[in-house]
């Protein structure tokens, strides 16, 4: 069979990925583990000495941890959202990206909430959230949303793996694998044999999952935004918060997707899978999103600025003042709102590498923008800040926070390294399905009705 042959070919081409790890792979893991250990050391210090060794104080109670939390969860929800939409809309060219998107979703969703734990004064009392739940609190909404989303996303990820596990199970003889892995594939493939009934069932399950993941992630991220929106703070309590958060999430998700694609393409020679077109399509969506971002940002701040109020004025002037956040702000807003239009929009600059590097800048810029939406706001209470201790007035993160940030990223990367060893980073079987082969279950009956009428 045609598809059967192609599958084997594809697998053969990419088998170095999943075969027994070499030294280089172990080196990668080791470096990541060292970074993680430094983070763990910082964590131990933080627990034993108390939060005083972080930069957080009574005014700026949330620092880099929450920025990371918001940022990483944003990536996660974006991954789910984009993957779901691509799947439901049957976007053919996006099929190779599916697996990466779903991996981002799950890994970010596991690592993100860790930062909120780091931020808690008494993480060991987490159980209280279940003992005395108060659903009036945005934190409880968030908790429910994150847990639901985590379960959904892990299961969804697994569903999309089933066909590939079956493929690996059937072809394990040709691959250089450890014995336990063969058994694992067999178990995980759930006896999937690609019979028409099985295929129909699986496809339906995938469609349902994609359909519920989309609203779940939008809701979950909006709830996260309301963590800020429900605070009586200038700069946060705006109706714009939730949509703006969702937009920035999608934006950062696409930027990250481009970066990961680029890394795999460069290091694993996946030019055939992650083609130039992928970069161009995603690059242009980056441009569009950057314009949207600029639009949202502008409309939020122009209204604040025109209706100037005392506290708002103090906050905005911090963004404009070059001795405070002026530099961060202007560089970051340039990177997220203008850079994609210039580098990707102007043909002369446009190339695979430039698109990828722009994405790096966008991602960094978005992180800084999140920082700027959290820290300066907390530094601008209604009452004047009259603390005589400098560190109580201005937040600056300590090495504890930074090393835990790096450790978090390292964990995400480690997950990726391990996961791409376990099964191909591209959804081989899904890619081989012919266009229009699997029918769209949700609107199935409607379409029939429409075509009849």
């Amino acid at each position: 069979m045609d598809s059967h042959l192609k599958a084997k070919e594809l697998l053969e081409e990419n088998k170095t990925f999943i075969e027994k790890p070499n030294k280089q792979w172990f080196l990668k893991v080791f470096i990541l583990a060292v970074l993680i250990c430094i983070g763990l050391y910082a964590l131990v210090l933080q627990i034993t000495k108390g939060h005083l060794i972080t930069g957080m104080r009574d005014n700026v109670v949330w620092g880099v941890y929450i920025v990371n939390f918001v940022f990483i969860l944003g990536l996660s929800y974006a991954g789910a959202l984009i993957a779901g939409i691509f799947h439901l809309a049957r976007v053919e060219w996006a099929k190779p990206l599916q697996r990466i998107l779903k991996l981002i979703t799950v890994f970010a969703l596991i690592v993100g909430p860790v930062y909120i734990l780091l931020c808690l004064g008494r993480p060991e009392r987490l159980l209280n959230l279940f003992l005395y739940p108060r659903i009036q609190s945005p934190i409880t909404w968030d908790l429910i949303a994150i847990m639901t989303d985590l379960i959904f996303c892990i299961v969804y990820l697994y569903f999309t793996y089933i066909k590939d596990f079956a493929l690996l199970r059937d072809n394990s003889a040709n691959l250089n694998l450890y014995g336990w892995r063969k058994k694992l594939y067999k178990f995980l493939a759930l006896g999937y044999q690609n019979t028409p009934e099985q295929k129909k069932l699986l496809n339906r399950a995938l469609d349902i999952m994609a359909a519920i993941i989309i609203p779940t992630s939008i809701i979950a991220y909006s709830l996260l935004a309301w963590l800020f929106g429900m605070n009586l703070k200038v700069g946060w309590h705006s109706a714009m918060t939730a949509p703006f958060f969702v937009l920035s999430a999608v934006y950062s998700g696409i930027a990250l997707l481009i970066i990961i694609m680029w890394i795999y393409r460069k290091t694993q020679r996946l030019e055939k899978v992650f083609t130039d077109n992928h970069f161009l399509y995603l690059g242009f969506s980056l441009v569009i999103l950057s314009l949207f971002y600029g639009y949202f940002y502008f409309s939020q701040y122009i209204t604040d600025w025109y209706n100037i109020q005392e506290t708002t004025n103090r906050l905005l002037s911090k963004y404009m003042d070059f001795s405070q956040y002026g530099i961060h702000f202007s560089v970051a807003i340039f990177m997220v709102a203008f850079l994609p239009s210039i580098i990707i929009g102007v043909p002369w600059f446009r190339s695979i590498n430039s698109i990828a590097i722009t994405s790096v800048f966008v991602l960094a810029g978005l992180w800084v923008m999140r920082y700027l939406m959290i820290v300066p706001v907390l530094e601008t209470p209604y009452l004047p800040m009259q603390d005589f201790r400098e560190s109580w007035v201005h937040y600056s993160a300590t090495w504890i926070e930074w090393s835990l940030t790096i450790a978090g990223i390292a964990i995400c990367v480690l997950f990726f390294v391990v996961a791409s060893k376990l099964a191909p980073i591209i959804p081989i079987s899904e890619m081989l399905e012919k266009k229009g082969e699997n029918k769209f279950v949700i609107f199935y009956k409607t379409r029939r009705k429409l075509s009849k009428g």
């Binding site: 034993t48 000495k49 108390g50 939060h51 005083l52 957080m56 104080r57 009574d58 005014n59 109670v61 949330w62 909120i116 931020c119 808690l120 004064g121 008494r122 993480p123 009392r125 987490l126 209280n128 959230l129 003992l131 005395y132 739940p133 108060r134 009036q136 609190s137 945005p138 934190i139 409880t140 908790l143 963590l227 429900m230 605070n231 009586l232 703070k233 004025n313 103090r314 002037s317 003042d321 907390l378 209470p381 209604y382 009452l383 004047p384 800040m385 009259q386 005589f388 201790r389």
Partner: protein, 316 residues
């Protein structure tokens, strides 16, 4: 440690009405001494009708509110029935003596730089004279901090008090950022002085709290049960802080007892940032006809600190 703390609280308990009456009798100078809790003399002597002298235990029930000891568990979340505590701060009298801050810190076993009561220097507009502005938690009737707590560790009671249950708080700090009045602090340091796991624990006496949880002004409900003013009100030398029960329509600073509604009406009392809709229970009397020029308040601050204050009130 906790022992020290609960002891001192108990001592206050045992002092009671007799001392209160003696204070009233003794006039001002005597009051200053009598304020302090005595350490010994659990018995008092009574001269009976036939001229013999007997010793009796001091009546335990010296308190104004029953039960006298701080409420625990579910009771602590309900509030003292029929009470509606309010505070009125007369800005015309404040000269940044900082005695309220110190009294509060001492009474609540706080660290020297933890301030549940703070004194700000404020200036309403470029033309107006700066004034000193003591600020604690406003015990809002529509408290943003309570709305956001995920575990109900901070709660509003029927007696207007907003309390923190230090045994339940997970330290998410959401309430700190939700409070528009910067009234909350966290116990950042892992210090042993913070009490925990005390069988006598009550949210009414949760200060200084525990490591990693929130603290805030608690309106001293444990003192109210004994008929005593909060530490800040009783330690202000100028009598700038009035405290009382709105249901009784009375506030007092220890020397002067006034009718709350009349006071607010006549002196045009206001609540800080009324427009936020938080409905505070702390009222301010505007700083008109001041007793002191505001510069007097710098006398206990270094030049450097003075600069910081003055800078923070100048418009950007």
């Amino acid at each position: 440690m906790k022992d020290k703390k609960s002891n001192s609280r108990r001592k206050f308990l045992s002092t009671g009405l007799k001392i209160g009456v003696a204070t009233a009798a003794g006039g001002l100078a005597a009051a200053k001494i009598l304020e302090e809790p005595p350490k010994k003399s659990e018995k008092i002597k009574v001269l009976t009708t036939d001229g013999t002298v007997i010793e009796v235990e001091k009546p335990a029930n010296d308190c104004k509110i029953n039960p006298c000891s701080p409420a625990k568990g579910i009771e602590a979340r309900k509030g003292i029935p029929g009470r509606s505590f309010v505070m009125v701060i007369d800005l015309a009298k404040c000269k940044n003596a900082r005695k309220c801050v110190e009294g509060c810190q001492k009474g609540h076993d706080l660290l020297p730089d933890q301030e549940l009561m703070k004194v700000y220097l404020m200036k309403d507009n470029p033309e107006s004279e700066p004034y000193w502005f003591p600020k604690n938690c406003f015990h809002c009737d529509n408290p943003p901090c309570v709305k956001v707590c995920p575990v109900g560790a901070t709660f509003k009671r029927t007696d207007n008090v907003v309390l923190v249950d230090a045994d339940r708080c997970i330290g998410c700090k959401f309430c700190i950022s939700a409070c528009p009045y910067s009234a909350r602090i966290l116990n950042w340091e892992n210090k042993e002085t913070y009490a925990s796991n005390d069988p006598d624990y009550s949210p009414e006496t949760q200060t200084p709290g525990q490591h990693g949880v929130v603290s805030k002004c608690d309106f001293c409900p444990d003192r109210a049960r004994e008929g005593k003013l909060p530490y800040c009100a009783s330690s202000c030398p100028m009598g700038a802080i009035y405290f009382g029960d709105k249901n009784e329509d009375t506030v007092t600073n220890g020397e002067e007892t006034l009718r709350f509604k009349e006071l607010i009406k006549e002196r045009v009392g206001y609540r800080y940032l009324e427009e936020l809709g938080t409905e505070p229970n702390v009222y301010y009397l505007p700083p008109v006809n001041r007793m002191f020029p505001y510069e007097r308040g710098f006398s206990n601050l270094s030049e450097e600190k003075k600069e910081i204050l003055l800078k923070s009130i100048s418009k950007p």
